[in-house]
Symmetry: C2
Subunit: 350 residues, 2 copies
């Protein structure tokens, strides 16, 4: 009656398509788990669906289904009806820890992002965001305050890594400019490491309030100053400091160039070049796809986020950055092979 022999076609299957079209369900399941703070509950010792349900005033059936999904997706382990955190989840999804990155959903899944990705076809037709003329790049867009608060724990680790890659002379009085400083983490990591370093942070005024809080938290507020405005418009020397005529030894440009087109980036880099001291360096932290734009996956697909959220942004290759920076006057640029998380670092020499 029923045949046990295989009837599976060895040919094409639509399974990858269906898995991918349903990929959003993983986003929603994770968001639900963060909303319920399930990971912290497990870390606190609630390891069964029943215990989790009780600790979160939820249904046991709902918890079982959600946790099974989280286990299948690699965020939990499951054995004998008990759920445990993976090492990654224990470090980054337990809300009690400073390394908690769950707050990033406030930015990553913000209404702005949802709106931007709602009609990818329209953005492809137009060649840029259909949100409004400037997308997320409009002046004082509050999405960047959200970004600053949400991405700060992640940036903290990356900024620390960056100070391992880029060294300054600890004995010398030095100055750094932190462009689109956001939470301020990149400049602050250097300020904390180098007691003779003064940091000037550029960003929208509303965003810099987050940076100021962090400067105080880090105990370096006396060597950190806010320079509010657009990096394209403000004078980089215009600080209240008596030494404002001095140039910078380091200019940090983390996650900024991807929002703009090459001429805009070249123009900014020329301005940065003029603000650098002899021997100074510009440090770009970016998603940098390989020249063929076939890898790494996150760098390639990041271009889509730029397409749907900005007018002309992109994920540029190193060759593209090298040209922009050379055209802006830099003698040479090098791509640091060590990836920093999923991003890469380009060092450009004045």
């Amino acid at each position: 009656m029923s045949s046990q022999s295989s009837t599976q076609a060895p040919g094409p299957t639509p399974e990858h398509f269906f898995r991918s079209i349903n990929a959003y369900q993983l986003t929603r399941a994770l968001k639900g788990a963060l909303d319920l703070d399930v990971f912290t509950a497990i870390a606190e010792g609630n390891t069964t669906a029943k215990a989790l349900a009780e600790s979160r005033q939820a249904s046991e059936r709902g918890m079982r289904i959600l946790c099974d999904c989280l286990a299948v997706a690699g965020f939990l382990t499951k054995a004998g009806g008990k759920y445990e955190l993976t090492p990654d989840s224990a470090m980054f999804l337990d809300r009690r820890l400073p390394s908690y990155v769950g707050g990033s959903v406030e930015f990553l899944l913000s209404p702005t992002m949802a709106q931007a990705f709602d009609d990818v076809a329209a953005a492809v037709r137009k060649g840029g965001t259909v949100i409004d003329d400037e997308g997320t790049m409009s002046h004082d867009n509050p999405v960047w305050v959200r970004f600053a608060r949400a991405m700060q724990p992640l940036a903290f680790g990356m900024a620390k890594m960056l100070t391992e890659l880029i060294k300054l002379d600890p004995g010398k009085k030095t100055r750094a400019l932190d462009i689109a400083a956001s939470h301020g983490m990149f400049g602050l990591a250097f300020a904390r490491r180098y007691p003779n370093l003064e940091v000037v942070a550029v960003d929208w005024a509303n965003v810099l309030e987050v940076g100021r809080e962090n400067a105080e938290k880090f105990g370096v507020a006396d060597r950190w100053r806010a320079l509010p405005g657009s990096a394209f418009d403000v004078s980089f020397g215009a600080t209240s400091d008596a030494n404002s005529h001095e140039g910078y030894d380091l200019v940090l440009i983390p996650n900024f160039f991807h929002h703009f087109d090459p001429p805009t980036n070249e123009e900014l880099m020329r301005k940065i070049h003029a603000a650098l001291n002899e021997g100074g360096r510009a440090i770009t932290v970016e998603f940098v796809p390989d020249e063929g734009r076939a890898a790494p996956p996150q760098a390639v697909t990041f271009a889509l986020t730029m397409l749907v959220t900005t007018a002309r942004g992109d994920a540029y290759t190193f060759a593209e950055y090298e040209k922009m920076f050379a055209d802006a006057g830099f003698s040479r640029s090098e791509l640091i092979q060590t990836p920093m998380g999923i991003e890469r670092v380009i060092v450009s020499y004045r």
Copy 2:
């Protein structure tokens, strides 16, 4: 200055979290590609971003970014700036072919589904859908007409596979009942294969119109009849046929039990048992997770779709089905080990 040595921590990373929280972007990219009918354009010979942009009145930059994402996601190959379809994409995403499954997004990404997944936490708290009391299970919900039209190409292949697994006596006059027939594909595949088989299809009246169209297309409309209404309420013998007192040799229940709780399923299975002839079989097609609910991934995570779209639905294990069906009077049930696509088949003997 810049260190080339590795500073990557070997320890935990938040990368899997960020990849997963952004998983929805793959859904949106694929949806955008289907909206623009990019796969068909490539099949028609437009293999560069420029040619694709021209064929679809889109920007070259947008096409390049979208196609790079599709390549990274495994839907296209890319070499020398040219994009080609993978075998899977060529078969299932070229709109000109009957095997095209892209229409499924009309159901899979329908507003109902989006609404259901919008607040997973709320569904976990409640233990069922928060859409309304019955979720997608309300009477004559138009989402099922959408489902019928959208899922028909996929069901066609699966139904054909099912006729390889489940055999009837071709020389004998037989009758099949197709429960929640939808597009009708499962019953129709048997009708096409067995010229002496008569099929009775149960579903909402609005949905059965899709099944009727397909019966005509398959040239078996004279042996296919609609029995409109809820499978729980209608009398399975109530056909206009003179032989309506006869029972059924085969009852097909594809993708139905997962919407309900075990007592409801047991009740329906008891009614099916009563409608079967001696030697008759009930054929369940379902997402069936392994007993530990740790695999296969699609079957485990399908439970979440049931949690957020229905009041009490689930993805049941074979042991759970076996118990429901035994309690309903079936002598035994067997799980066919051969997977049918991502679903499994259970044969239950009267």
